[in-house]
């Protein structure tokens, strides 16, 4: 997407400029700049507890970091690989249920439970990919299939007593210990969520830069052309769905440890899907590297602000906010915040390049 030509930098430079030029090469690489921007913003979030005392605002920050991670999971499958996996929430829900059942029923520590949650979601993702590829479901039909799956799973989970049925499942709370991932203060939750977000940002970057990432994007742009050029589209579509599902499952595992409660209508829901999966990457720029982080930073805090502003949390406000976010982003900012930044960045780097040439 961002092919910023670095060749314009002449190779023969005075020694004093060498360090500067390395920095310059770094900034002239838009992908690296996005990575740096994401990590810098996460670092700023990590400093937030120094200034933020109120548990309410800490809660918003924790959810922001969590939405970044879950947003990344969807950015990989929908943004990079262009798959219409609309109901990504099924993987978040699967992860949440796995983590809470492992914790409550089997006494498995959430630190491992969350990883198994990712594994379970990945298996579900593999199943989804296998079935849809086997029967050649694409585009619109694939989108509808994922929604049908969501409705089916919701009905099954409502009837499935082992996972709490219609009543849902509350986290069995013990005394706060780190082994059980239960804390009295909010800070530890923030740092876990931020750690996940950092890992997500790095994984996303590595995928984007890898051959696999290029194949994903080739499939997104034109699947049959990619296949004609020798890309194993079945394999890479499966990989995209499985990776996205695994990350979403891990995110779901953390979600339930933080929210401490899960019930079918809450998690198998397109409204929640819009809020925690889609809104972030779309506002930030779907398919871009900085998108999920930028978008989540706007998404949750702004939504809470508007919700407080509009009649103190009257029902429906958050839906109004998220619905408007999606509409405004698609109509006015289809490349998201990252797209806006990219335009600015191109202007800036053009000047930088001109400067470096003029300085010779």
């Amino acid at each position: 997407m961002s092919t910023t030509p670095t060749s314009q930098l002449s190779e023969s430079k005075p020694v004093v400029q060498k360090r500067m030029s390395r920095l310059r090469t770094f900034f002239l690489d838009w992908d690296l700049s996005q990575l740096a921007l994401s990590l810098a913003l996460l670092a700023l979030l990590a400093l937030a507890p120094l200034f933020v005392r109120s548990p309410y605002y800490m809660g918003i920050l924790i959810l922001t970091a969590m939405y970044m991670f879950i947003g990344i999971s969807w950015n990989i499958v929908a943004g990079f690989a262009g798959q219409l996996l609309i109901a990504q929430i099924i993987f978040v829900a699967t992860g949440a249920y796995t983590a809470i059942v492992l914790n409550n029923t089997f006494g498995v520590t959430p630190w491992i439970g969350i990883l198994i949650a990712g594994l379970t979601a990945a298996v579900l993702g593999y199943g989804v990919a296998l079935i849809t590829l086997r029967y050649g479901l694409k585009a619109d039909y694939f989108a509808l299939f994922t929604i049908a799956l969501m409705v089916t799973m919701k009905t099954i989970f409502l009837k499935w007593d082992f996972v709490g049925g219609a009543i849902g499942m509350g986290l069995r709370l013990s005394n706060p210990t780190w082994q059980k991932m239960i804390f009295r203060a909010k800070e530890p939750y923030l740092y876990i969520a931020l750690a996940l977000a950092v890992i997500g940002v790095i994984i996303q970057y590595l995928i984007y830069r890898s051959k696999m990432g290029k194949y994903f994007m080739a499939i997104r742009e034109d699947e049959s052309a990619a296949a004609a050029l020798g890309v194993n589209t079945s394999l890479y579509k499966t990989l995209a769905v499985v990776i996205g599902a695994a990350l979403a499952g891990i995110g779901g595992g953390f979600y339930v440890m933080y929210v401490t409660f899960v019930e079918p209508p809450q998690v198998f829901d397109l409204g929640l899907n819009v809020e925690i999966v889609m809104a972030g990457p779309i506002i930030g720029g779907l398919g871009s590297l900085a998108g999920p982080v930028l978008g989540a930073l706007v998404n949750k805090p702004l939504a809470e602000l508007i919700r407080g502003f509009l009649a103190g949390g009257r029902s429906g406000t958050s839906l109004i906010v998220y619905g408007s976010f999606l509409i405004l982003a698609i109509v006015f900012m289809p490349r998201g915040l990252a797209g806006v930044f990219h335009t600015l960045y191109l202007k800036l780097t053009r000047r930088m390049r001109q400067d470096s040439q003029g300085g010779m």
Partner: protein, 290 residues
Amino acid sequence: MDLQIFFQTIINGLFTGGIYALVAIGLTMIYGVMLILNFAHGEFLMLGMYVAYFAFTLAGIDPYLAAPIAALLIFALGALIQSALVQRVLDAHPLNQIILLLGVSTLIIGLAQFFLTAEARSIHVSYETAVITFAGLRFSVPRMIAFFSAMVIAVALYLFLQLTKTGKAIRAVSQSRDASTLMGINVKFIYLLTFGIGAAVTAVGGVLLTPNYKMIPTVGQGFGVIAFVVVVLGTMGNFIGAFLGGLIIGVVEAFAGFIFGGDVKIIASMLVFILILLLKPAGLFGRKRT
């Protein structure tokens, strides 16, 4: 299951299926003409129900007589959504189209919850429990009226598409946008008209439901999903397919409800849906279009 219950279940299924057919016709027209999956479709049904509710409680208008009001209002809303929003993404990536309409759906539900609250509402008319018994079978009067109204509207719409010049233009656009433009058809206007009509018939479907159906702002979501089932079953974009598909899904659900209980019957539709998607995604009517 004795014969009488069997027939009774079929009748109940057909009565519900009539509404499904109407809602699905709206959805399939929009898809057939614009290739847009209207994820905000169920919300037009919900709005139709609320129009009937307020016409009844504020002006004392019988819910069935509120149908033209709802049709006009929701036609205007649909046309507005089409021209202001959907028109902009017609050539965009399908993901952007779906996200936009999910946004519209979320926004409409949110506004409904904000202004109308999430509490369940219903209206009570004198004939709401009236029943006609014929040959041992029970026909609920409001549901019968709803069914026959839906059938009349569906047939009228079909004739409109087949016989009038505008109808023919709509069908032409669904076959080829470029060729229609070359033939002098105002494609933008046809899109606006189609989206408006699609939304309006769905709203009428909602109106017809009101005398015996509780309404909440999220009531449309279930119907939206069912409409997708019906549309895929009857081949996406096929008018008659959506009509028959609606009746079929209605009957399937009625039997599933009878056998498994009401809250699990959605599973039956979903299984039909998944099987159709996997085994015959082109639907019952192959590749034919309206």
